[in-house]
C-alpha cells in the first residue's frame, strides 16, 4: 500500500489548532481532496494517518510531517495540490515523497526536534561570549541535546535548541528556556518559539525525515 509522507508548515492562526484538532483537520481535508485513503478496519473506520510528534499549542512550525496511506498511487504533485486547496491557510503542505513499505513509522523514527527560541531578558544579561559558554555548559550538563546562540541584541537573544522528542520538560522548549535562564542567573521570558525541524539523531548523525525516504519527491 503506497504511503506518502507530507511535510507541512503550521503558522499564523493555525498555531492555535491543537494536535487532536489537527488530526481532524487533516482527515477532513484529505477526504475533501478526494484522495484514495486507506481506512482502518472495524466499527470506526478512519483514514490511516500517522504524525511524528505532537506540537505544543501556540507554537509555529516550519516542518511537520504526516504519513498518509493510500489504496493506490496518486502523482505526488496531485497529492500536494489537492491538499493545498483544502487546507486552511496556515497549514501549508510544502513537499511530498513516497515512503517504502518497510520504513519505520514516523513516530518511531523521530527522536529529536530543533527549535528557535526568542528570549527577552528582563534585567542585565551576560555578553555574547559568556552566553555562548554558559549555553555550551548547559548542553554538556544535559539541559539540551545541542544549542547555539544565533543572535543577541537589545536584551533579546535568539537561540537554536535541539531537544529530545519526548521526556517531559526536557522536550518542552519553553521549559528548557526557563531552566536555561535560571542557569544563566538572568530574569526573562520566552518571547517566541518556532519548531524548525524534526530529527533522528543516531550515533552522532543527524537526519531529517526526508533523508530516510527513497524514490521520487515532490516539492511545492
Amino acid at each position: 500500500m503506497p504511503r506518502v509522507r507530507i511535510r507541512f508548515r503550521k503558522q499564523g492562526d493555525a498555531r492555535f489548532i491543537s494536535h487532536l484538532d489537527l488530526v481532524r483537520v487533516m482527515e477532513r481535508a484529505a477526504r475533501r481532496a478526494g484522495l484514495p485513503l486507506r481506512l482502518s478496519q472495524g466499527y470506526n473506520p478512519r483514514p490511516k494517518m500517522a504524525f511524528a510528534s505532537a506540537l505544543a499549542l501556540g507554537t509555529a512550525s516550519d516542518a511537520e510531517y504526516l504519513d498518509l496511506e493510500l489504496v493506490r498511487p496518486v502523482p505526488l504533485e496531485d497529492v500536494l495540490g489537492r491538499l493545498r486547496e483544502q487546507l486552511p491557510s496556515g497549514l501549508r503542505p510544502s513537499a511530498a515523497a513516497w515512503v517504502p513499505e518497510q520504513a519505520p513509522a514516523l513516530m518511531a523514527l523521530v527522536n529529536a526536534a530543533e527549535y528557535e527560541v526568542e528570549v527577552e531578558f528582563s534585567g542585565p544579561c551576560p555578553g555574547r561570549a559568556e552566553l555562548e559558554q554558559r549555553l555550551r555548559d548547559f548542553v554538556t550538563r544535559g539541559g539540551a541535546l545541542d544549542g547555539e546562540l544565533l543572535a543577541l541584541a537589545e536584551g533579546r537573544a535568539r537561540l537554536r535548541l535541539v531537544l529530545p522528542a519526548s521526556g517531559g520538560d526536557r522536550a518542552r522548549p519553553r521549559r528548557v528556556a526557563e531552566s536555561l535562564l535560571s542557569a544563566l542567573g538572568c530574569g526573562g521570558r520566552t518571547a517566541g518559539v518556532r519548531r524548525r525541524e524534526l530529527l533522528r539523531i543516531e550515533g552522532g548523525r543527524r537526519l531529517v525525515p526526508w533523508e530516510l525516504v527513497q524514490g521520487g519527491r515532490a516539492r511545492g
Binding site: 481532524r24 482527515e27 477532513r28 477526504r31 481506512l39 466499527y43 473506520p45 486552511p88
Partner: protein, 562 residues
C-alpha cells in the same frame, strides 16, 4: 449566496476573552474579516434559547452598539433577531430593532433588499425609515411600532400598533424547502465544536402534536424533501465537508416518509468511504429493526429516545403516547443491532404529574435494563436525562404553571436516588435555571429591565451550569420589580391576553385551547398525516398540514398562505 451582500459570523466570546477585550478596548469583531461588528449594516441574532439573552446584550455592548433600540443612530447597525425565540420576542423588545418570525431563507433576501435600497436612497427617514420599510416584509415585526397596555392586576391588556402602516398581527413566514437554499459549502471548523458532522434537513415541521413542544407548532406545516433530493444533498454535504458522518435532521426523522430508503441507501453508499449516517432523537414507536440495521453499517453514534413521561397515562395527556411493549421492542432491536449505550430523556413537572408517574420513570428504566440483561451478551448502559418542564408560548400548555423550584428539586432528587445504580448515568437539569427560562419563555416587555439588570450584574452564559448565577438573577428581578412567579407559576385562564397574541404562528388559538382541554381529560389527538384534519390552521385550514407537502418527484407544491 448573492454578490451584492456580505455576511460574516460572530460568536459571544467566553468571559475571559470578553474581559481581555474590554481591558484593551477591542470592540467585538467579525470572524472572517476581523472588522468591528458595529461597521456592518445589520446585526442578526438567532434566538435558540432564552438563557442566551444575556449574551445578546453582552455582544451588543462589546460591539459598541447602544443596548436600547431607541438610543441608536443611523451610524449603528440595525439589530434583528429570528429563530424560535422570535415567536415570543417581547422580553427583547427594548433591544432588538426588528424580529423575523419563521423561516429565514426567503425573508433574508427581502430584508437585504430593503436595507440596500434604503442605504442607496440616502437613508431616508433615518432608522425609522428603514424599520418602516422592513415592517412591510412578511414575517417582520418591529416592536418599536407597537404600544403595550396592562390591566390593573398586571396582566396584559394588549399590544397594538402605535402608528399606521403596520399590521395589527404579524404572521410568521413559511418558506418552501428548496434544495438551492441548503448550504452548498457548509463551514467546517478547524477546532472541535458541538454538532461536528454534516447535516441534511430531510423535512421541516411536525404534526405529531406533542402538547409541550413549541417546535411542533411553530414549524408547521410539514414540508418534506423528496428522497432523491435528500440523498443528493447528503452526498454534496459529505463531498464538500469531508466529515465522516452525515446526520439526517428534522424534528422527528423516523417520521420522514422516505427514511428507510434514504438512511439505508446513504448508509450503504457511503460505508466504503468510511462515512456513517446518523439520526437525531428517534421516536421509539417508529423505530424498526430495519432502520436500526441499516444504520449499523459503519459506526455507532449514540441512540437517543425521549419517552418524556413514566406512565402511559401521562404520555397520553401530553400526546406523546408510546406503548411500553413497543418501546421495549425498540430497545431490543437496538441492542441486537449492536448498540450498547442508550440515552433516555424525561421531564418532571408535566401538567397533572403524580408520584405514580415519577415511579413510572424508574420502573421503565428498570424494565429496559432487565430486558437487556435477559438477552445475555454485552451489558447495556443508559444515560437518563431529566429536565423540568417549561411551559412555552404557542403550545397547548402555554396556560399551565411551572412547578415551584423546590418541588422540582424534590422530584429530581427522588429520581436521582432511585436510579442510582451501575449502568445508569443520571443527569438532572437545574430547576433554578428552568425557572428563569420559564419566566422569559412567557414573558412580556417589562422583563427587558430585568434582563438588562442581570447583564449589568454580570450574568453571562447562563445555560452553562458553571456560569449560571441564580442569586444575581433574583436580584435583577427584584431591582426591576418583576415577579418571576407571576410569569412562571401562575395558571392562566384561556381568557387572558398573552404577550404573543399579536404574533401569528400559523396555528389558531382555538386549536391550542382544544388541545389543552383534551390534555386535562387525558385524550390523545392523532397525527393528521395519518388521519383526519384537526383544523390547526397551519395549512390554511384545508386539512393538509401533514399531507400536502409530501411531494412526489417532479411536483412542486407551494404551501398556501392562510
Amino acid at each position: 449566496s448573492r454578490p451584492d451582500a456580505l455576511m460574516e459570523r460572530v460568536f459571544a466570546p467566553w468571559p475571559d476573552m470578553e474581559e481581555e477585550m474590554r481591558r484593551r478596548g477591542i470592540p467585538l469583531f467579525a470572524l472572517e474579516s476581523r472588522e468591528p461588528v458595529k461597521t456592518f449594516d445589520v446585526l442578526g441574532f438567532s434566538l435558540q434559547y432564552e438563557m442566551t439573552y444575556t449574551n445578546l446584550l453582552s455582544m451588543l455592548d462589546l460591539a459598541g452598539v447602544p443596548l436600547q433600540s431607541r438610543a441608536r443612530g443611523v451610524e449603528h447597525p440595525l439589530v434583528c433577531a429570528g429563530g424560535p425565540g422570535a415567536l415570543n420576542p417581547e422580553p427583547l423588545a427594548d433591544f432588538v430593532d426588528f424580529f423575523l418570525l419563521g423561516d429565514g431563507e426567503e425573508a433574508v433576501h427581502d430584508i437585504v433588499r430593503e436595507v440596500r435600497e434604503w442605504k442607496q436612497a440616502g437613508r431616508p427617514g433615518g432608522r425609522e425609515g428603514a424599520l418602516l420599510r422592513l415592517a412591510g416584509v412578511e414575517g417582520v415585526y418591529v416592536p418599536g411600532f407597537y404600544g403595550v397596555e396592562y390591566e390593573s392586576d398586571g396582566t396584559l391588556r394588549g399590544v397594538w400598533p402605535r402608528r399606521p402602516g403596520v399590521p395589527a398581527r404579524v404572521r410568521r413566514r413559511v418558506a418552501r424547502l428548496r434544495p438551492e437554499d441548503a448550504p452548498r459549502c457548509p463551514l467546517v471548523p478547524a477546532v472541535e465544536v458541538v454538532f461536528d458532522r454534516a447535516m441534511v434537513e430531510v423535512f421541516r415541521g411536525c404534526t405529531r402534536g406533542c402538547r409541550f413542544c413549541q417546535a411542533g407548532v411553530i414549524y408547521r406545516p410539514v414540508r418534506e424533501r423528496p428522497a432523491a433530493e435528500a440523498m443528493s444533498l447528503a452526498r454534496q454535504a459529505v463531498d464538500a465537508t469531508g466529515y465522516p458522518e452525515v446526520s439526517l435532521v428534522s424534528l422527528s426523522s423516523a417520521d420522514y416518509s422516505a427514511i428507510r430508503e434514504v438512511a439505508g441507501g446513504l448508509a450503504r453508499e457511503l460505508a466504503p468511504r468510511g462515512v456513517s449516517v446518523s439520526l437525531p432523537s428517534l421516536r421509539a414507536d417508529a423505530f424498526s429493526v430495519g432502520l436500526a440495521s441499516d444504520l449499523h453499517r459503519v459506526r455507532k453514534s449514540g441512540l437517543t429516545f425521549a419517552p418524556e413521561a413514566g406512565t402511559e397515562r401521562l404520555r397520553r395527556a401530553i400526546n406523546k403516547s408510546l406503548g411500553e411493549e413497543e418501546f421495549l421492542a425498540a430497545v431490543r432491536a437496538a441492542q441486537d443491532a449492536g448498540w450498547q449505550h442508550l440515552k433516555l430523556y424525561f421531564m418532571v413537572g408535566l401538567p397533572g404529574e403524580t408520584e405514580e408517574d415519577l415511579g413510572g420513570i424508574v420502573s421503565l428504566v428498570e424494565r429496559v435494563l432487565a430486558e437487556a440483561r435477559g438477552r445475555g451478551g454485552r451489558r447495556l448502559s443508559l444515560s437518563v436525562s431529566v429536565a423540568p418542564f417549561v411551559p412555552k408560548a404557542h403550545t397547548p400548555f402555554q396556560w399551565e404553571p411551572q412547578l415551584p423550584v423546590d418541588e422540582l428539586g424534590r422530584r429530581l432528587g427522588l429520581l436521582r436516588s432511585r436510579l442510582r445504580r451501575r449502568n445508569v448515568r443520571f443527569s438532572g437539569h437545574d430547576p433554578r435555571l428552568s425557572l428563569v427560562e420559564a419566566v422569559f419563555a412567557r414573558g412580556d416587555r417589562r422583563l427587558g429591565a430585568a434582563l438588562e439588570a442581570a447583564f449589568r450584574l454580570g450574568c453571562r452564559f447562563d445555560a452553562w451550569s458553571d456560569r449560571f448565577r441564580y442569586e444575581l438573577w433574583l436580584e435583577a428581578f427584584e431591582r426591576s420589580g418583576a415577579d418571576p412567579g407571576f410569569y412562571a407559576h401562575r395558571r392562566r385562564p384561556h381568557s387572558e391576553v398573552l404577550p404573543w397574541d399579536h404574533l401569528d404562528a400559523g396555528v389558531s388559538r382555538r386549536f391550542l385551547e382544544r388541545e389543552h382541554d383534551r390534555a386535562l381529560r387525558g385524550e390523545t389527538t392523532p397525527d393528521c398525516r395519518g388521519g383526519a384534519c384537526e383544523g390547526c390552521g397551519a395549512c390554511g385550514g384545508a386539512g393538509r398540514a401533514g399531507g400536502a407537502e409530501r411531494r412526489a418527484p417532479g411536483e412542486d407544491k407551494v404551501p398556501q398562505a392562510g
